[in-house]
Amino acid sequence: MAISESSAQRYRLQDPDVRLMLEVRDDNAAAFDELMMRYQSRLVTVLEHLTGRRDQAEDLAQEVFMRVYRARKRYVVGAKFSTWLYTIANHVASNALRSRSRRPEVNLVPRPNDSTGVGALDRMALAASGAMPARQLDKAELREVVREALSGLNERQRMAVLLNKFEGMCYADIAESMEMSPQAVKSLLSRARVNLKEILSPYLEDGTRPP
């Protein structure tokens, strides 16, 4: 990520995580701990939804942090820290998914028992059940359907969706993390949205679960 000195300076000023990473580069262990605390849950969330497995997500997150540590001496400010981190995460996850696809025991739909997010699904369940008095949508079932819909996207769409939805990244940052153009990200996210809509609409409208 080669950028001008003024851009690098801007990232240093605006992104506290970039400043922490520069301290990590100077072998400040406390700075590394701080970065890890800030990102570990977020990273595991993205990787869990990407791989569909919590245990693998944790292993991959640790691999990402190890790579960050090992790369510290070569770190140069070229983007927001989160963009750089998710570039590494994207590589690690892609490699893992590629090698897993060679050993077919894949179940991209995660276990339903460790769910915590409820707000939007509660609202959707209530709204949908109001529209369909004959059928009360079960929240857990709805959550499961959404997970299935997400896992129905291809890997790149899923990654773009997760970075946009969970990390709040703009197209330019997603493009940098996924090493593609912002226009390609725009198309990718648009197709992902359409796919999600097509998978979820039948369920929301008449309770038909996706195949």
């Binding site: 540590y69 997010g117 703009c170 198309s187 929301l204």
Partner: protein, 168 residues
């Protein structure tokens, strides 16, 4: 529910998707909003995309426990210690390499010094070697007493080797 007949083209989806993500410029936003105001199918498509997307908000967020943090820190500590060991192991090799480089540098410096020295201070023996024929015949030259006479003798080839004289 009415199906939006002509709506889901790629460009429309991209436009609506970028609109929902706040990625359109001011012109794009105005264009989308003008169409939303007059096109019910376009409006419906936007609502469907928005609704499906909104469901993702309800997906669970992971919270890692202390053991995850601890084991990651331990892994990094092991990596740091391996790095330090490797750097330590590298030291004697580095010193040996530095000694060799030093020796090579010294030899190179001597050679360069020698070449420069011979350029600045020519070898006095070279002059002696050049003058050797004169020294050998010094007695004869001494008796001649006149340089012009000696030149005449030189032109007559009287001081040349026997072979030269006989040959040509």
């Amino acid at each position: 529910m009415t199906e939006p007949e002509s709506i889901p083209t790629d460009s429309v989806s991209e436009e609506l998707s970028a609109y929902l993500d706040g990625e359109l410029d001011a012109d794009g936003v105005r264009r989308v909003e003008q169409r939303l105001a007059r096109d019910a199918d376009y409006q419906l498509e936007l609502r469907r995309l928005e609704r499906a997307w909104g469901l993702l908000d309800g997906l669970p967020r992971a919270t890692v426990d202390e053991s995850f943090t601890q084991s990651t820190i331990e892994m990094v500590a092991v990596a740091a210690s391996e790095e330090a060991d490797a750097a330590l192991a590298e030291l004697p090799r580095k010193r040996r390499r530095q000694r060799w480089l030093g020796a090579l540098g010294a030899v190179a410096a001597v050679l360069v010094g020698f070449v420069i020295g011979t350029q600045i201070w020519p070898d006095p023996n070279e002059q002696l070697l050049r003058d050797l024929p004169v020294v050998e015949n010094f007695e004869l030259y001494y008796q001649a007493d006149d340089i012009e006479f000696l030149r005449m003798l030189e032109e007559a080839d009287l001081f040349a080797d026997g072979d030269n004289r006989d040959g040509n």
